[in-house]
């Protein structure tokens, strides 16, 4: 009978999957994720793709903000850089999707590192404003560098092709998103078992102490910006190939704020939290809409009153979560998990 975890070495303390049970449930989840597209309709697949793309972006932002403690209001712009890079490489240079994908990531990382430059001097709110400037500048560039970005009309791209498979619908794209989410989440999770990841956490907790421990602040802060933006770039590339079009309107400041909301609601400094947050911010508004839609069918005259209520309910939900669970959805999950950890013999 299972009564607890007995760790004999540091390695087991650092393990991603603590025991067989967690491996088993992860396996179950994976199988369910594989079955999902075969039972779900177009709408659910679309939502799943959206959530997947958001997860990659949110994980990226969480690395920077949640783990390394550098606030960024420019995340949407980095996603945009990735998106535009993918679109330009695919349409102008006819590069295959599998090459566009990492290149979008690297291009976004390059811009991320440039924007991260001031982070050595600036902290907190000041850094926040510096990244806000980056967001505004990049947005301006998307709109006005017409010869490259196509200006306000943007760029239309064709469906991505991988080894001869054309991913031209939500069903096929789902598998790409799933694979990318798994790769990105695994990479992010493992990042924090390395020197680089631990350095990020040290910088977040107290940068002076981190420096005393021999961490080169500049180097690691720029790493954080670079890695975070790389994830953003990947997310942007997927987004553009998913929608098959890119315009500057896809990456407004509000989108950056939405990503910040995702990691705050999900849980700062938690990879799992990024996943929960991204799913929450994508799916819950739709659920509220569906429920209110039902009510509107019953009371058609209440439409003008019920529809605007969506935003209010969604806002209240976020506030509620933050008040009752400031550590985010991830913390709720840990509590539930701990409850069942030794269930039914938890005494």
């Amino acid at each position: 009978m299972y009564i607890g975890d007995f760790k004999e070495a540091y390695a087991s303390d650092q393990a991603v999957f603590v025991n067989t049970t967690s491996r088993f449930w992860l396996g179950v989840l994976f199988v369910l994720l594989l079955i999902f597209p075969f039972v779900a309709g177009d709408y659910f697949l679309f939502m799943a793709n959206l959530a997947g793309i958001a997860i990659i972006g949110a994980v990226g932002l969480n690395i920077l903000t949640g783990f390394a403690g550098q606030i960024s209001l420019g995340h949407a712009a980095f996603i945009g850089v990735g998106g535009y890079t993918a679109a330009i490489l695919a349409t102008r240079f006819n590069l295959p999707f599998l090459l566009c994908l990492p290149l979008s990531g690297f291009m976004a990382a390059f811009f991320g590192i440039i924007v991260g430059g001031p982070s050595l001097r600036l902290k907190g709110l000041y850094l926040c404003i510096a990244t806000l400037a980056a967001q505004l500048i990049l947005e301006f560039v998307f709109v006005h560098w017409e010869s490259v970005t196509g200006g306000i009309r943007g760029i239309n791209v064709s469906s991505p092709e991988i080894f001869g498979f054309v991913l031209d619908n939500d069903f096929k794209f789902y598998f790409l998103t799933l694979v990318m989410v798994i790769i990105c989440v695994t990479a992010a999770r493992n990042l924090f078992r390395t020197r680089v990841g631990r350095a990020f956490i040290a910088i977040r907790d107290r940068d002076i102490s981190a420096e005393l421990m021999g961490i080169n602040l500049m180097q690691y802060k720029l790493y954080a910006f670079g890695i975070s933006s790389f994830f953003a770039g990947i997310s942007g590339c997927l987004w553009v190939n998913f929608l098959k079009t890119v315009t500057p309107e896809h990456f407004p400041l509000m989108e950056s704020v939405r990503y910040l909301a995702m990691i705050i609601v999900g849980g700062m400094g938690s990879i799992l939290g990024s996943i929960f947050g991204a799913i929450f911010m994508t799916i819950v508004p739709e659920m509220i809409k569906t429920i209110l839609g039902l009510l509107v069918n019953i009371f058609p005259t209440a439409m003008s009153f019920l529809f605007p209520l969506q935003q209010v309910i969604f806002g209240l939900l976020i506030v509620g979560f933050l008040i009752f669970e400031p550590h985010g959805l991830a913390e709720i999950w840990y509590r539930i998990k701990n409850y069942f950890h030794l269930w039914p013999f938890d005494h």
């Binding site: 679309f46 306000i152 239309n156 896809h250 839609g293 529809f307 969506q310």
Partner: protein, 394 residues
């Protein structure tokens, strides 16, 4: 604990029921719509929604198409790209309508590849974008009126026909917002102005809802245009510009396109509205000598007795509904099944169609837009027609 489980289960079940649902084979023509009833665009979205719904209701009262009634199914999108696409897919999966309505140019662009390759539904939207009306690329998508470029064209054509001051070419300024909505018609307008012998003396670009327009005003003062055409604004900064120009003592006739031709704008302008001009593809609610407006009055009186005014966005919804009905009737008359594919093939065949005065006599033969508009001038807080229907294709 138990209570919450029951509650969650109930919630889940209701969700499942709402999204899955059992569909019955009905003899109706389904029209789906993702309407921006909330969000930034709600000021127009809720009226477009009402107009489209009423237009289809009116068609049903007239007997539908050979006894087949129209069924209007809609969702709120909140003027959000992702939610709008989700709504589109949800409606298609759940109800498989043959015609769809959606918000914004962005959604149309994002959905266009899939509309062409998978969904095969006729698609109308709030957008007057030129790109969407390009039949060779988007055969399923139409614009419910003239595109912004065509609206500019109507205005420029009107200006070209006005008597010249001191026998010199007309001087025109373009004043637009730095958005797709603002920039869409500008390249076309530049070319057409050149062709018509109109001099474009200034182009002022601002952010949407810009407050400080001093530098633009000074530029207008320097270049002395006779006409200034706004594009890409709904209200601000139009009142500020018009008042500022008045303060500078400039003699400029200000003009707008569809979204800047609302009663709301005239209300904001107050006494400065006198003489404001612009192009609209539709007739206004108070023009009760127009047959289709009379039909609207009667329908509104019967079904919404408390409503006193319908803005021009309502007309857009109503006219879109008329196009849907027209396409369905054409399919029926040709003895074809009412499918997205057949409906699409009917769009170019709409020729010299009398819209009961709502949009003049229109044709979709050259592009998936009508190209027809009328020039109006504000007098005593109302728009009065100063031209007949002008068709740009002619």
């Amino acid at each position: 604990m138990k209570k919450s489980i029951v509650l969650t289960m109930a919630l889940f079940l209701s969700l499942l029921l709402s999204t899955g649902g059992v569909s019955f084979a009905e003899d109706v023509i389904k029209i789906g719509a993702g309407q921006p009833i909330t969000g930034r665009f709600a000021f127009a979205g809720k009226h477009i929604h009402a107009g489209l719904m009423d237009s289809l209701g009116y068609a049903n009262e007239q007997g539908g198409v050979d006894g087949k009634k129209f069924k209007y199914i809609y969702e709120d999108t909140g003027y959000d790209l992702k939610r709008a696409i989700a709504s589109f897919k949800k409606l298609m999966a759940k109800d498989s309508p043959v015609m769809m309505y959606g918000e914004s140019t962005g959604v149309g662009k994002a959905m266009a590849p899939e509309i062409n390759s998978r969904y095969h539904v006729v698609y109308g939207s709030t957008s007057f974008s030129e790109e969407l009306s390009d039949r060779s690329k988007n055969p399923y998508i139409f614009v419910s009126g003239p595109t912004y470029a065509q609206q500019f064209g109507v205005l420029l054509k009107y200006i070209a026909n006005q008597p010249k001051k001191n026998n010199k070419p007309h001087r025109v300024a373009f004043f637009y917002s730095d958005t797709e909505f603002g920039r869409d018609p500008i390249p076309f307008a530049r070319k057409l102005a050149k062709k018509l012998g109109i001099e474009v003396v200034a182009e002022e670009v601002t952010k949407v809802g810009a407050v400080d327009i001093t530098s633009q005003l000074l530029d207008l003062k320097r270049n002395k245009p006779d006409y200034c055409i706004f594009q890409g604004y709904v209200v601000p900064p139009i009142p500020e510009v018009i008042r500022g120009a008045k303060d500078f003592g400039l003699d400029i006739t200000f003009m707008g396109t569809f979204w800047a031709m609302s009663k709301m704008l005239l209300g904001k302008l107050g006494p400065d509205a006198e003489g404001y001009m612009g192009v609209s593809p539709y007739s206004y609610w108070y023009m009760d000598d127009v047959p289709m407006i009379q039909a609207m009055h009667a329908y509104t009186k019967k079904h919404h007795p408390d409503v006193e005014y319908r803005p021009n966005s309502y007309m857009q919804g109503w006219f879109t509904g008329m196009i849907y009905v027209k396409l369905a009737k054409m399919c029926h008359e040709a003895g074809l099944a009412i499918t997205g594919e057949n409906l699409k093939n009917m769009i170019p065949k709409i020729k010299d169609w009398d819209t009961g005065g709502l949009n003049g006599v229109v044709s979709f033969d050259k592009s998936n837009a009508t190209g027809t508009g009328k020039v109006y001038k504000a007098e005593n807080g109302k728009f009065v027609a100063v031209s007949d229907w002008i068709n740009l294709d002619e």
